[in-house]
């Protein structure tokens, strides 16, 4: 262990964290607007990875270009999921039911992928995946950097939508106080559907980067969703900024621990850090304090 491998771990962590941040942002957005925990987010990322796989292997479309197809497609998928399943959940037990419903969607996705692709591990290939930037004595794989930049761009777009558009104001209003937003006349159904659409569309991008940097198979969703959930909770449910900070923090911590202590304990520290933070800040870093009455 030396300073340079430590520095590399930090850099890797930040780059990877950025991508996780994007996927986590989608998850926290869905929760904030719908009060729904979308367990299917992990499976959707895997689906996104497979879609990029199909486009690149069978149609020869470049991974990043393929996003022009997959992102809108996933947006539509998200809107469909909201309309078909989430809308029916009665408000009373929304959260508990949403966990079960989205889990069902997740296993259906996993099942379909298994049937089509089998259980073999695959990884997305491209000319730039195996080469790296040589910068300041570090090798930064192209794909990590591109992925990180992609995440930044999409997060920037997300920010723009949320903070600079009329629609975005409606979403943020719903994030803060749903009933008040309804009273003001925000079209809640539309906001919900579109929010889920956005929340799911980021998984297309996240899936592509994930698939390019990891080998995956249809069952890869479990590990992913567990990590994303931890990020979202640590950052504070409903806070996109929180998801960002938490993602970079947790992933970087894990990478650093892997170098400093041992890779074997790194993942454990990842999850343990969630517990530790929650013991001091029960609502996560930027979470809304629970309103006790009403």
């Amino acid at each position: 262990m030396n300073a340079s491998s430590l520095a590399k771990a930090v850099i890797d962590g930040i780059l990877t964290g950025g991508v996780y941040a994007l996927m986590a942002a989608g998850l926290t957005l869905i929760f904030g607007v719908m009060d729904i925990i979308n367990i299917a987010q992990g499976a959707l990322i895997v689906l996104g990875a497979y879609m990029s796989y199909v486009l690149s292997v069978h149609l020869g479309i470049d991974l990043f270009l393929g996003l022009i197809i997959t992102i809108p497609a996933f947006f539509v998928l998200g809107v469909f999921i909201e309309w078909a399943f989430m809308r029916r959940l009665r408000d009373q037990e929304r959260t508990a039911m949403s966990i079960l419903v989205t889990y069902a969607v997740a296993i259906i996705i996993e099942g379909i992928l298994s049937v089509i692709f089998g259980a073999d591990f695959v990884q997305l290939q491209a000319s730039y995946i195996n080469s790296s930037f040589h910068l300041l004595g570090f090798y930064l794989p192209y794909i990590y950097v591109f992925g990180f930049l992609l995440a930044l761009v999409l997060l920037g777009v997300l920010y723009y939508i949320l903070y600079r558009t009329h629609f975005g104001r409606g979403v943020r209003g719903s994030l803060q106080n749903r009933s008040a937003a309804e009273l003001i006349g925000v079209n809640v159904n539309r906001v919900r559907a579109l929010s889920v659409g956005i929340g799911v569309s980021v998984t297309a991008a996240g899936g592509m980067v994930f698939g390019a940097t990891n080998s995956f198979n249809p069952s890869s969703g479990y590990d992913l969703i567990s990590r994303l959930l931890s990020i979202v909770i640590l950052g504070g449910l409903g806070s996109i900024g929180g998801a960002l900070v938490a993602a970079v923090f947790m992933v970087t911590l894990e990478d650093v621990v892997a170098v400093v202590w041992s890779p074997v304990w790194a993942t454990l520290v990842y999850y343990a850090s969630l517990i530790v933070v929650l013991s001091f800040m029960p609502n996560g870093l930027f979470g809304r304090a629970a309103v006790r009455a009403q």
Binding site: Q92, A180, L183, V291, R292, A293, Q294
Partner: protein
């Protein structure tokens, strides 16, 4: 008359929003006190602070002379303070009778509470008695979710009564209720008051408040504006100003 429950210099802020500032209120024992004020004046927030659902940023709540600031809602109820909510809250998936039984909490050991059937015969009798008192006797084993709006309010009240609280804080008990039921409600409150119960009632229905309460406090923008008998309050020009001029965001 001694004070049963009081708020003393209570302040409460939510982020940037100052919901209560130096708010003071005292409820004499055995009285029916009213709490009025335009929307957003902090009435429900004050209730929340008094019953332990929120912690004040400053100030004290006292029950029968003892400070209870920051006590949990369970403890506050155990001391004898019951409250209803602006939007009627019940255990909708339980039956009407079960709703009442939840409140008949006896302090028994954990093992017994697991092994014994919910509610002894005596408790069941008392629960049914209470239901009869509010006229819901025949609906004892309907799911609470099936009740009409007015019936729900009555059930909410009955659930509190069964624990024999010393003081009841009612948050807009007549909202959305038909005039006949309002009259019945008034009667029940007076009956209970004669039997020794103290009331603090938040209301928008002026007739109800003026006709029922011994004294009224007016809240405006988180501050106590005026306090006095209904006639005094009604005549006070500052109160009219508050209602016509004020009323910003909704209560949280």
């Amino acid at each position: 008359m001694s004070t049963l429950i009081e708020a003393d210099g209570v302040c409460k802020s939510f982020g940037g929003l100052q919901a209560l500032s130096e708010c003071s209120l005292s409820v004499p024992k055995g009285s029916i006190s009213g709490l009025i004020g335009p929307n957003g004046s902090g009435k429900t927030t004050l209730f929340n602070v008094m019953t332990g659902y929120e912690r004040p940023t400053a100030g004290e709540i006292r029950f029968d002379g003892t400070a209870i600031t920051g006590a949990t809602p369970e403890k506050v109820f155990g001391l004898g303070v019951g409250r209803t909510f602006q939007i009627t809250r019940l255990f909708f998936r339980l039956t009407v009778l079960e709703n009442i039984l939840v409140a008949t909490q006896r302090h028994e050991g954990w093992l017994r509470s697991v092994a014994r059937r919910a509610g002894s015969a005596a408790e069941h009798d008392r629960a049914l008695e209470m239901l009869e008192f509010v006229g819901l006797g025949r609906l004892a084993n309907s799911p609470a979710g099936n009740l009409s709006y007015g019936q729900r309010k009555l059930l909410e009240l009955a659930s509190l009564l069964v624990a024999d609280p010393a003081v009841l804080l009612l948050d807009e008990p007549t909202a959305g209720v038909n005039p006949v039921l309002i009259e019945q409600l008034s009667e029940r409150i007076r009956e209970l008051n004669r039997a020794g119960k103290t009331f603090l009632v938040v209301e928008h229905n002026m007739e109800f408040v003026m006709g029922l309460c011994h004294e009224v406090t007016v809240l405006h923008q988180g501050r106590t504006l005026v306090n006095g008998t209904p006639e005094e309050v009604r005549a006070n020009p500052a109160v009219l100003d508050a209602y016509l001029g004020g009323g910003d965001d909704d209560d949280f």
